[in-house]
């Protein structure tokens, strides 16, 4: 029998980019918490993720979800060396703003604001879009992330030169590349498997 997509009929859905704690609801049926096996729990990486309908949907392919989650954590949280956390989150926010993922942009703009203490600049990126003037170092990170997000990618020598001129070393430039590239993975899942819901 053909399965059915969920049409949630969200009232007052978020229609602008925001740093508010909005929610997300799936268009396909997540697994039930009670049905999760050891294999699923292994794919979730953290047991607490069983509470999230997004992860309970993705865990229908536990091996891919597990590897993806570990990639995500290393790109954003392994900050002993390389780019500060705030600027990795800035790259994630810029990719999400460019692709149009209101949900991903809300989460990662909050992280960018929290770690940078530059909430007004982050809000400017959300409000004005990827052309907003945020100072040269951030402008260079946003421009590189947006160029990499384009299809086909428009990332060129000039973006690397601009990042280097703004003071980024090679490992830090690699972190910008990974932060933006990863959100080209995340945005495509979040946008296509469900939709944002209003903040409580």
């Amino acid at each position: 029998m053909t399965e059915l997509a969920i049409i949630p009929g969200v009232e007052n859905p978020p229609v602008t980019f925001t740093q508010a704690e909005i929610g997300w609801t799936p268009w396909l049926q997540p697994l039930a918490e009670d049905d999760l096996t050891e294999r699923h729990l292994h794919g979730l990486v953290e047991a607490a993720r069983a509470k999230s309908p997004y992860f309970r949907l993705l865990v229908r392919n536990p091996e891919v979800l597990g590897a993806r989650t570990k990639t995500d954590k290393d790109i954003f949280y392994n900050t002993r060396t390389g780019l500060p956390r705030a600027e990795r989150e800035l790259a994630a926010t810029a990719a999400s703003r460019s692709n149009g993922c209101i949900f991903c942009a809300s989460v990662h703009s909050r992280f960018a604001s929290h770690h940078s203490k530059r909430g007004d600049d982050v809000q400017k990126l959300l409000d004005e879009g990827v052309g907003a003037d945020l100072g040269e170092r951030w402008n260079a990170i946003v421009a590189a992330s947006v160029a990499l997000t384009a299809t086909p990618p428009a990332f060129g020598d000039e973006h690397i030169a601009r990042l280097a001129a703004a003071g980024l070393e090679e490992l830090e430039i690699a972190d910008v590349i990974h932060g933006a590239a990863f959100f080209n993975w995340a945005n495509r899942l979040m946008l296509s498997l469900g939709e944002p819901t209003p903040a409580n």
Binding site: L28, T71, N99, T151, F155, N184
Partner: protein
């Protein structure tokens, strides 16, 4: 005997052992390892379940072709070219990649203040002739992959229903979505790191 697997991002970005970029990647060992594990989970899965290996390679080749990345396209379609059954599929792939060319991201925002940023673009459909040959399931996957590559903000529950009606299951759609999205990630890491590697080599020369 266990076959030693090359790291696909290193392979396609031209990163060689001992090079500057090799040392940079070594500082993110988990990123390197898990990006490879993601690739293996999608393209050498322990069970193919809902999505056949041929479908996986063809969809990845389609995504790489839409990104105009010839080396990555070749990497994904090469396994298809080895069998006679796959050769016709590669011919169709080339035609459909040609028909699907566009520049993204484009598409529509939910109605409201962002509507001013809506950007029109190609709404790709598999040609009637090729649809007959590919079948409904793979044709629907190509059309969905095109949506995810270029106009992801146009995604909708109706687009998922089209996949379900074409014979995809919920589990199959999760794998398909991960596959297209992973390849979109992998392409950007390869494009970014290969350029960084080239700049680094020029600076050292």
């Amino acid at each position: 005997m266990t076959q030693v697997q090359p790291d696909i991002i290193d392979l396609l970005a031209g990163i060689t052992p001992g090079s500057n970029l090799d040392r940079i990647r070594a500082q993110r060992p988990e990123t390197r390892e898990q990006a490879q594990q993601s690739y293996l989970a999608l393209f050498q899965p322990r069970t193919v379940d809902e999505v056949s290996l041929v479908e996986r390679q063809a969809i990845a080749g389609f995504v790489a072709g839409l990104h105009r990345q010839p080396d990555i396209y070749e990497f994904y379609v090469n396994p298809l070219e080895e069998g006679a059954a796959g050769r016709w599929l590669v011919e169709i792939l080339k035609a459909e990649i040609g028909a699907g060319q566009a520049t993204g991201p484009y598409g529509n925002y939910p109605e409201g203040p962002l509507s001013g940023e809506n950007k029109a673009g190609l709404l790709y459909r598999v040609s009637e002739t090729n649809r007959d040959v590919l079948g409904e399931k793979l044709s629907a996957a190509f059309e969905h992959a095109h949506l995810l590559v270029f106009r992801l903000r146009d995604a909708s529950p109706q687009a998922l229903q089209v996949l379900l009606d074409a014979g995809w299951t919920t589990d199959g759609i999760v794998t398909l979505s991960q596959l297209v999205s992973f390849v979109a990630f992998q392409i950007r890491v390869i494009a970014g790191l290969s350029l960084l590697s080239a700049v680094s080599k020029r600076a050292a020369a």
